[in-house]
Symmetry: none
Subunit: 166 residues, 2 copies
DNA sequence: GAAATATGAATGAACG
DNA sequence: CGTTCATTCATATTTC
């Protein structure tokens, strides 16, 4: 039994009410709420549960991004996917009669402790991954960057490149 | 002009070492490194992994832009994962130090035996819980968000916060 | 209990 | 230089 209290609350989970409000606003067409709006919304939502502007902002960002492109499998081969409409698919919640799963918008967590367990799938990332020696600090000594920051004032004109061949 | 698909599937992921160097330099106060510096840095970092000047430049730009985090308020959403099993109260080093969670490029886990007692006790969320009056869109009436979408211009600079205590 | 899915959060890249 | 988009990861919740 390794069950102990571990800093809970890692990810903000919108309450149904909050979700409703958020979706409603999103549906208004406001698209990308401005900072002021975010603040406003956050304040209102705060009364329905713990929330921060960051959460609201993220939510909108995710929502928008999600609306655009759903999950696509690994499509290899000339797949002519020309859809991408930007149409707000949004709430398919109530519309569906549940063969799938119940959105957390309606979940009612009881007082008990669920204690699910370990979801540590630890998604393996077989990327290139480098990983050098555990040298902590002492690599840039040959760089004059931290020696004399006041050197020149060259203008960097990188700015936005269209295609960068990495 | 547009329409450049660009096969940039994997954005450059700084290796821990690279990150360290970058942060170190950033901390030097150099602020915006000049092109020359960028080149220099890039060269050094190249020895720790694939990287381009553009990457370095972007990194600094992002770093600086995101350093201006003005977030505040609630404070939910910190996503720092602690792998420590006993310490639940970690000393936050605040903005002065780097916070940085686990780099995305460090989840190698070749072993495969992570018996971490991550028994999420289902974060105690005594918030306002779900289950509340069926009034869904009756709360934001005082919000002008859904009334006049075309009000001001975008101005959000949240993007993401570095870390905030709760 | 683990896998599959959903979604919030982090960050690199692009755009203005 | 500020802001937003896109991609990916981490964690939560649901399902098997």
């Amino acid at each position: 039994t390794i069950g102990h209290k571990m800093t809970a609350r890692q990810r903000w989970t919108p309450t149904p009410v909050q979700l409703q409000i958020l979706e409603r606003i999103f549906d208004q067409g406001t698209g990308t709420p401005s900072k002021q709006k975010i603040k406003d919304i956050t304040e209102e939502l705060s009364q329905h549960g713990q929330i921060s502007e960051q959460n609201v902002y993220n939510w909108f960002q995710n929502r928008r991004a999600r609306s655009k492109r759903k999950q696509h499998g690994g499509g290899v081969g000339g797949s002519s996917n020309n859809n991408n409409g930007e149409s707000e698919v949004e709430t398919e919640t109530e519309t569906l009669n549940g063969k799938r799963k119940m959105p957390e918008s309606l979940r009612v967590l009881p007082d008990g402790n669920n204690a699910i367990g370990t979801t540590s799938t630890t998604s393996p990332r077989p990327e290139d991954l480098c990983f050098q020696s555990p040298e902590m600090s002492s690599d840039l000594h040959l760089l004059g960057v931290l020696s004399n920051p006041r050197d020149d004032h060259s203008y960097n004109l990188y700015d936005h490149v269209e295609e960068y061949g990495m």
